[in-house]
């Protein structure tokens, strides 16, 4: 976890990096771990529907 978060000391990090780079399976695991947030971020982008925007603004006008 500390390696994946990039919060290790430079020495330990460099040692792990060297291993991961040489190991196909570790490289694959780290790649998919790092890709996961990006995929979910893109997949959960939604636009505010116009009707919801209108009712929000109507409610805010009434209540203040």
């Amino acid at each position: 976890m500390e390696y994946l978060e990039g919060v290790l000391t430079p020495e330990v990090n460099a040692a792990l990096e060297a291993h991961v780079a040489a190991c196909e399976r570790c490289t694959a695991f780290v790649a998919s771990y790092r890709e996961t947030p990006r995929i979910l971020r893109t997949a959960t982008v939604v636009e505010l529907p116009a009707d919801i925007q209108q009712s929000l603004r109507a409610v805010l006008r009434l209540r203040r």
Partner: protein
């Protein structure tokens, strides 16, 4: 004199809105309504998001005079929105928690990943393997499956791309706790993504 609002900083707008300037408040709403709605969908559901959105801005309006600028305005507003989402969820049935073990990478007796590179990579190809709508549905379902505390940390840190420090501030926990929750959420979601494209983790 009319002060243009389009290029005013959030903090300037907040001060003007707190002093009773309705145009400044409207500008704040216009700037943040889309982001708050998206956050609300990610933290709750599309059904609950409109309520979260309304409650957020009603509270922002009421609490603006108390905004002192100790944090950035955006962080302050995200805290209100996150709390509005959590309030709505409170009292709903708890979901059974899944064991994290199932999502940890598996190793053989030599300490080598037990899965082949292609299997390990599957999660990162979910967006190539599924069509847009299917991926959006699965992403929502996957995020909803997370334990609540992992979901909140993951949504704020990885989806809204806030700093760990800001997330810690919004959730009222230590940065180390945020990092751990986000890490566990990523492991679980990585597992869900592998599952949904039909390959074991």
């Amino acid at each position: 004199m009319v002060v243009p609002t389009a290029d005013s900083s959030d903090e300037t707008l907040a001060a003007r809105a707190a002093a009773g300037d309705d145009h400044a408040f409207e500008e704040i709403v216009a700037r943040y309504e889309g982001r708050v709605f998206r956050l609300a969908c990610r933290l709750t559901s599309e059904t609950d998001a409109p309520d979260v959105l309304q409650n957020t801005f009603l509270q922002v309006y009421r609490n603006l005079p108390a905004f002192r600028g100790e944090s950035r305005f955006a962080t302050w507003l995200y805290r209100i929105a996150t709390n509005a989402a959590l309030m709505l969820r409170r009292g709903r049935t708890r979901k059974p928690s899944e064991s994290l073990d199932a999502f940890m990478p598996r190793f053989d007796e030599h300490g080598i990943h037990a899965d082949l590179p292609a299997q390990l990579l599957v999660a990162s190809r979910a967006d190539e393997l599924l069509d847009r709508q299917a991926l959006a549905d699965k992403a929502r379902a996957g995020i909803a499956r997370l334990p609540h505390v992992y979901r909140e940390a993951f949504v704020l840190r990885d989806l809204e791309e806030m700093s760990t420090t800001d997330v810690a501030q919004v959730l009222g926990v230590e940065p180390a706790a945020v990092r751990q929750r986000v890490h566990r959420a990523r492991l679980m979601l990585r597992g869900y993504l592998s599952d949904l494209v039909g390959v074991k983790r």
